[in-house]
Symmetry: C2
Subunit: 287 residues, 2 copies
C-alpha cells in the first residue's frame, strides 16, 4: 500500500466538504496554500464562480481535478423529463472536459420527484431501467470526449430519492452490460460511506479492477448517525476500516487519489481552515 | 395472491408498534377485541408481564404468535460475552417454545458496544464470523425444541450497531451453510423496511422458497425518513411496493401472516385504538 503518512500527494478535497464556508475560488486558494493538489468540485459551485474563471484558476494554481460532481438523475416522470436529463448530462460531460476532470461522477437518480417529497410513482424497477438507458444514451457522447463516467453506488438509505444504484455489484453489472470490453469509458466511484457495510465489498472491488475503479471517496460512518444525508464523519471518528478498504482498492490496481467528501452539519459550522487541517491530519494518519 | 381486502385472517401485529401506549396484556386484549388473531411480542414486554401470564392470556384469547422477537446479538468483545450471548439465546428459544411461537426472530448483532456508542472494535468481518458461529451453536438446541430460527437481515444503515447481516442474499448464504438440507430449522424473516431497496430482492425471495421464508414484516419507507431507527411509515404512506413484494413472497410459497411492525415516534404518540384501526384499514387496502 502507498504511504500516506507524509505529504499530500494522494489527497483530494471534494468541495462539498466546505460548501457552507467558502465559494469555490476561495476554496481553491485555501487548498493551493496548503499544497493540496486535487479537488472534486460540484456543478453548482462551478456555475456560481463561472466555468471559464474556474478553469483559469485551476491553471494558475496547478490544482487538478479528481473528478467532477455530478451527472446522473436520469429517471423522470415523462418523456420530456427523460430528454431534459440527457441534455443536462451532455452539458455535465462538456463541463468536466473543460475542467480537465479524469471522470464525471454519476449519481444516477431514483424515483422522480422523490427528492422534493413528491414521488411520481413507486416503481424502483422502472427507475433502474431508466438509469441504464440514460447511461447508455450518455456513453457515446462521453466516449467522443474521452470523459469516463463513474457510477457511484449510494447507500441503500438513499435509494428512493438520490440513487437507485445501491451496491457495487449492481454498478458493475451495469458497467459490464454497457462496456463489456472494459475500455475504461464507464466505471465506478467507490465511496466508503456508501459501501463499507456491504458483505460483498472486497470481492466486488477485486472484480472492478483497475479499468473500472475511477474514484475513491473517504469519510467515516458515525455512531450514532443522526441524519440520512448530512451526518458524515471525519475519517477516524467512526467505524469504517479505512486502511483495510484502501488495501483492497490498491490491490485491485487503483492508484488515484483518496478524495475526502464530508457532508456534515457539524463540519460545515467550523472554519474552513480548521476543516482542511483536520482533513490533512487524518489523511496522514488514518486514511 | 391471497385476498387481504376482507377480514383479518392473515394480519399480525408486532407489539413494538404499540410499545409506548400499552403493556402487553392490554395490547392482547385490544387485538382480541378486534379479532386480530396473531401477534409477535418482544422479550422485554413478555418479561414485564410474566411469561406464564402471557402464555395463559394467549390461551384465553386464542391469539397465536407469528414469531417471537428476538434472539441474536451474538458478537461480543470477549469470550465471556460470547458465552453470555449463547446462554441468552437458549433462554429466548425456550421462551419462544413456551409461547408457541412458529419461529424466533434473529437480530444478529453487530460491532460489540456499538449500540451504546462505544464499539469495542471496527472489524465487521469478525462480527460476521461471530454471528455465524453463534447461529451454528444455537441451532442444535433450537432443533431439539423444534424452534426455527429466522435470520432477519436489517437495513445497511443499521449494520454497525444492530445487525451485520444486511441483505437477504447474505442471510440465505448463512442458511445454506448451516442447513444445506433446507430442513426448515433456519430461515429468514423478510421485512420490507429493511429489504425493499435491494436490487436482488425478487431473485433472493425466490431462492429462499417456502422452507426458508419464516416471517414477513410490513410497514413503509417514508420520504423523507428523518431517523435511522424510529421513523417507519404506516403501510401506504411511503414508497414501498407492498403488493409487488407480497406477490414475490407468495409466489415463493409463503402462506403465513403479514406482520405489521412500525417503530415510529409519530405513531407511538397516537392512541392505541387509532393505530390498530389504521393497521387494519391499510392491511385491507394496500398490503
Amino acid at each position: 500500500m502507498r504511504d500516506f503518512s507524509h505529504g499530500l500527494a494522494h489527497l483530494s478535497i471534494n468541495t462539498a466538504t466546505l460548501r457552507k464556508q467558502l465559494g469555490l475560488p476561495a476554496m481553491l486558494e485555501a487548498c493551493a496554500r496548503r499544497g493540496i493538489a486535487r479537488v472534486c468540485p460540484w456543478r453548482d459551485q462551478v456555475e456560481a464562480a463561472g466555468l471559464q474563471s474556474v478553469a483559469r484558476q485551476l491553471g494558475h494554481t496547478g490544482i487538478k481535478l479528481s473528478g467532477y460532481c455530478r451527472g446522473g438523475f436520469f429517471p423522470a416522470a415523462d418523456a420530456a423529463g427523460l430528454k431534459a436529463a440527457l441534455a443536462d448530462n451532455r452539458r455535465a460531460i462538456e463541463e468536466a472536459k473543460s475542467l480537465g476532470a479524469p471522470c464525471l461522477i454519476m449519481v444516477v437518480g431514483a424515483l422522480p420527484g422523490a427528492l422534493s417529497g413528491q414521488p411520481a410513482h413507486k416503481d424502483i424497477g422502472l427507475a433502474r431501467a431508466q438509469v441504464v438507458a440514460g447511461l447508455a444514451a450518455s456513453l457515446d457522447y462521453a466516449r467522443s470526449l474521452a470523459m469516463p463516467l463513474a457510477i457511484e453506488p449510494l447507500h441503500p438509505m438513499q435509494a428512493a430519492d438520490r440513487a437507485c444504484v445501491n451496491t457495487l455489484e449492481q454498478a458493475l453489472d451495469i458497467c459490464d452490460a454497457l462496456d463489456p470490453d472494459r475500455s475504461g469509458a464507464v466505471g465506478v466511484a467507490v465511496d466508503v460511506y456508501h459501501t463499507w457495510w456491504d458483505p460483498k465489498l472486497e470481492g466486488q472491488i477485486a472484480r472492478a479492477g483497475r479499468e473500472r475503479l475511477l474514484a475513491y471517496h473517504v469519510c467515516d460512518w458515525l455512531l450514532p448517525t443522526r441524519d440520512l444525508l448530512n451526518d458524515r464523519g471525519m475519517m477516524g471518528d467512526g467505524i469504517v476500516e479505512l486502511q483495510k478498504i484502501r488495501g483492497w482498492i490498491e490491490a485491485a490496481g487503483y492508484a488515484g487519489p483518496a478524495e475526502v467528501e464530508i457532508f456534515s452539519e457539524h463540519w460545515w459550522r467550523l472554519p474552513a481552515e480548521e476543516v482542511l487541517d483536520a482533513c490533512i491530519a487524518r489523511y496522514n494518519t488514518v486514511v
